[in-house]
Symmetry: C2
Subunit: 136 residues, 2 copies
DNA sequence: TGTACTGTAATAAAGTCAATTACAGAATGA
DNA sequence: TCATTCTGTAATTGACTTTATTACAGTACA
């Protein structure tokens, strides 16, 4: 997974955390990230499905955090954008007649689970507020 | 980084570890992974550059481990295939006029380094021999 | 009721990754 | 010596994925 969505989602959430209470438009956010507003709205839609963001339609509408920044763990952000596995999906279909090939996906999966656990542990320790606090 | 190269490289190395001493041809390896032999040779070339594999050209040639499987850490494999960052490269060029945008790549990089450190710690604890030992 | 937003679908453009083709060079052994 | 069987590598194609763009309906506001 080279997931370009994680940095985008984190950027969106950081902007909202830094101007808590205000409604930010997708155009404004897109201007900060320097990407297309429609992609921002898609990511917001996804983050909203995970309960991290609330939106208001219509004039003077926009989006804001659904809960305080110190209640949002970066692991939640990871879960929201994560679909593929971390070190690369073995979409490969190894040769079932090879004693190594027929077993390797099982053992790769175990390895990935182990590693992803370590990663989530780190992300769980940091809240969005912690992340924002690093900015001056 | 959805790096499909990590599983491929690990598959190659596992095959070599399981038949230590023998020279394996790229065709044979490609048959086990079920991918193109040229891609195998590319990965072997890369692993060779990192001192993990030795190759012999010409008829009856092939490749084998450059050192015992218990002397190869999975972190070395990771380093060999790793190019992009873990949670997705911010190829984005955020708006330098935005107080968040102009700093976020720096803080993302720090976060990635932290997480990658945790990941490497796990991979360092497991050798290729440990990985192979799981196979029956 | 016009304006400024969101939400979403559909399409196009760009980028990435793997397969394939091609071929030179190296080692073997008949 | 020379055909064979490998590696090494470049170049091209094709498949797939991601992002940008266009388009437009729906919503809220003033």
């Amino acid at each position: 997974m080279n997931n370009g969505r994680f940095p985008i989602s984190l950027h969106i959430l950081t902007l909202m955390a830094s101007s808590a209470g205000e409604l930010l438009s997708s155009d404004y956010i897109a201007g900060s990230i320097n990407i297309n507003p429609v992609l921002v709205r898609k990511e917001i839609s996804n983050l909203r499905n995970f309960g991290l963001i609330e939106s208001k339609e219509g004039k003077n509408g926009g989006s804001t955090l659904a809960k305080p920044a110190d209640k949002i763990r970066l692991s939640e952000v990871y879960h929201a954008v994560q679909q593929a596995s971390l070190l690369g999906n073995s979409k490969n279909k190894p040769n079932p007649d090879c004693p190594i090939g027929k077993q390797i996906n099982l053992h790769l999966d175990h390895l990935y689970e182990d590693i992803e656990g370590a990663l989530l542990h780190r992300l769980e320790k940091m809240s969005l507020a912690d992340f924002l606090r690093q900015f001056q």
